[in-house]
Symmetry: C2
Subunit: 140 residues, 2 copies
């Protein structure tokens, strides 16, 4: 049920962009919420489901599970299952994942240099494009 991706414009555009440049694929992987955080946490040896959940305030099981699966599928992390009594699973970052983390570091540096800390990125598609960002009239 629920055909996840119809062949309507939305999807077509996605394909179009994917073909246009690999960058779009990359961004669709790491551009999703939580993904970068999870990746970095695992790199810092937070390797178990429950630990990750603890670190990530407010993430729900479902979402964490999806993110992990996504990362495994794209081979940014690997999953190791230990058939022990209380069942243990550990994730670790692959070499390709490590490379990616490095680039993300650059990205982060850029952000620190060019986005004021207090700025909120609220994309606000559509009409009421009120910007809570970068126009700090507020001499707060």
């Amino acid at each position: 049920m629920s055909i996840r991706k119809s062949n309507s414009t939305n999807t077509l555009n996605e394909f179009y962009l994917d073909d246009r440049c690999t960058l779009n694929k990359v961004l669709r992987i790491i551009g999703k919420r939580w993904v970068s955080e999870v990746l970095v946490l695992i790199k810092q040896d937070v390797s178990r489901f429950s630990q990750l959940k603890e670190c990530l305030n407010g993430i729900s099981d479902n979402v964490l599970s999806n993110v992990l699966n996504q990362l495994v599928k794209t081979q940014l992390i690997t999953k190791e299952i230990f058939n022990e009594v209380p069942l243990r699973v550990e994730y670790s970052v692959s070499s390709s994942g490590l490379e990616l983390v490095n680039v993300m570091h650059d990205l982060c540096s850029w952000g620190k240099n060019h986005i004021p800390y207090e700025v909120r990125i609220l994309p606000t598609y559509g009409k009421n494009t009120q910007s809570l960002m970068l126009d700090k009239d507020s001499n707060s």
Copy 2:
């Protein structure tokens, strides 16, 4: 109308992540569809609305407009309005935007090295996480 961003978990999580690391802000800017493409095109001197639209197969006015506004607000590009008869507007990439483009290049390189060309990134949140990706062969 339509409070665009309630203070429900969704938004709270976003704030949480933004506070956690600047990287999340960066990714929310450039992780949106078309954004990277538009940025790169403008860098290549495709500086006008209609030209951009021509280059970007299938983007609609609304969306292009939003993307441009977003980029202007985050100061990745600048907008120059010429009060001529048929009204001319030109966009150009700012210095900070140029820096970002460079990092995005690295990101793209990573992708070219680590994502097979034919792979489709269809995140498929939710249940039926069938992967159209990275498990080719899969003679299910």
